[in-house]
Symmetry: C2
Subunit: 322 residues, 2 copies
């Protein structure tokens, strides 16, 4: 049965940028069965490998409503899947941006998702880290750490919580391992991405929100407007001068109950003060103060995600340079 | 500037299926800096983790030309990115299937890409394996092993090679680590995917081609037609009986110069013989014999990928049940 064509695209493509060839050596040759029903064969991992690339999907509108694409950067331990649907199966922000006629680029940061990752200790120095569901429940401000239970029916969320709590396990399927200390490499790949895309509206969440604030400070020739959704950091080490793009910073609820978030937000507020002193237009929005209370660290996945997305699209539409 | 709307979709969404919660214990708590500009904090990876899920993107047509979706399974050490574009930036089969009005599902197999992967030795038993570019050059039949060089200008491909050889490094950016011995878990996740999607046309490449042949033998209620593109294995252990879907098996060139591929193909030919004996319609196509010579192990990425895709779409269109 035909459904309304909500999305009319000229093309859907993907690419990798920022990779470079590196040699791996010193690994013993192993004997492994690699194909179903096959025989063991020598597996020699020594040789050349691509390292440092990120992955990007680009959705090109047939009849764009705006010239600049929206570029979406996910947070730590996540992938671009964050933008594609909510854990309870509602449309993600990708769908909304495409329905609004915007070109969209969804990326997987270096080392995550389809960007791939490299072997250690040869190509990466350290072992990865992986967030437990207990930690996610706490750090994503779904509920207090003590409110997590392996028995989903026994979990206790914050009062008024708008995250789809009953689908927390489904959400945890999206989480991927990450590395610490890779910030500079990640930004190198993002720089290559922006150099390829050119002027854009940049939207980053959590760790990606901090990276987006950094990109806006470093590369205003590409970042014409920036939205930092619950940023977990800010470029306190970057001098702010010259033309700076307009900034929108969005926050959910329950920050004061999570000391790590009190500290992260303090860092971001300091950056906002510096931005304003440097002449940038900075709008900091507590979603609750706009009549959208109860949001977790993931407003794009919460009940009410459509309203937050509409707020973002409205802000983008009001930015002359974007 | 408006471009022709080649793709008209009702929705683009993604989801994970097949994951289950598992507890990890016994890891020491580490102190790590997790946010740009933040302070070290305790990182305790012990706790619950989701394990075993795969990732799927579903593109729903506004006005589908056929009822059944096309489901795309990539090969070993790859992700769904295989289907999205060629290494030299031409449209991938995803674009062609969508332009043909087909619903499409692109998946990342368990442990790869956006499906995520789990820590070892606690949740996976073994360390991952990763293909070197040397091995890929050989195993993907781009050229002889001795023809690979770290200096791209010095590489020697097979005569008449249609893989975009000058973009081999770009292609290697797509490769991801994998695990050996996970075949049953991967198939469990694929079973959950097919149970969710229902009747479909299944297209698998390489390791995914072997999995697709297995799925067709095990679950004919869901697999109404199957295309195995350069399958690296076959379900020699599965009894064949009852209704079996029509099969199309496609092969590129230069198999005889790569002993591993001679063996893989022999296994698949044996399966085709068993399928025919069980009453299934099986078409085995050497692309060269159809006037499409020079293909590598990745006909969907080679120059001429459009013609191979057209051949596949034509075959699908002729299958009554699909």
């Amino acid at each position: 049965m035909p459904q309304p064509a909500m999305i009319q695209l000229a093309s859907i493509q993907s690419f990798h940028v920022g990779g470079r060839r590196q040699a791996l050596s010193g690994r013993a040759v192993e004997q492994r069965v690699l194909a179903q029903g096959g025989q063991p064969r020598a597996l020699d991992m020594n040789g050349d490998h691509m390292v440092g690339q990120l992955y990007a999907q680009f959705y090109t509108q047939a009849s764009p409503t705006r010239a600049l694409p929206v570029v979406l950067w996910h947070g730590g331990g996540m992938t671009g899947a964050n933008w594609e649907a909510t854990p309870d199966g509602r449309p993600g922000w990708l769908q909304h941006f495409l329905e609004a006629g915007l070109h969209v680029c969804v990326s997987d940061a270096m080392e995550r998702g389809r960007a791939s990752w490299a072997l250690w200790p040869e190509l990466y120095e350290q072992a990865p880290v992986m967030r437990s569901m207990q930690e996610g429940w706490d750090m994503f401000r779904v509920g207090p750490l003590a409110g997590y239970s392996s028995d989903a029916s026994q979990r206790r969320a914050h009062a008024g919580q708008r995250f789809p709590v009953e689908c927390f396990d489904q959400f945890a399927c999206q989480w991927v391992p990450r590395w610490t200390g890779h910030e500079n490499r990640i930004m190198q790949a993002y720089e290559a991405l922006l150099a390829r895309i050119g002027p854009c509206v940049l939207i980053g969440h959590s760790q990606g929100g901090g990276f987006a604030l950094r990109a806006a400070a470093l590369w205003p020739q590409w970042v014409k407007a920036v939205v930092a959704l619950e940023p977990s950091g800010a470029p306190v080490d970057v001098p702010l001068s010259g033309p700076l793009p307009p900034h929108l910073v969005l926050w959910g609820d329950h920050i004061e109950q999570h000391p790590a978030w009190v500290a992260y937000r303090r860092t971001v507020e300091g950056h906002a003060t510096r931005l304003r002193a440097a002449g940038a237009a900075v709008e900091v929005v507590d979603l609750a103060a706009r009549g959208l209370p109860g949001h977790s660290h993931f407003p794009m996945l919460d009940h009410g995600s459509d309203a937050v997305c509409a707020l973002v699209i409205d802000w983008i539409t009001r930015q002359a340079a974007a």
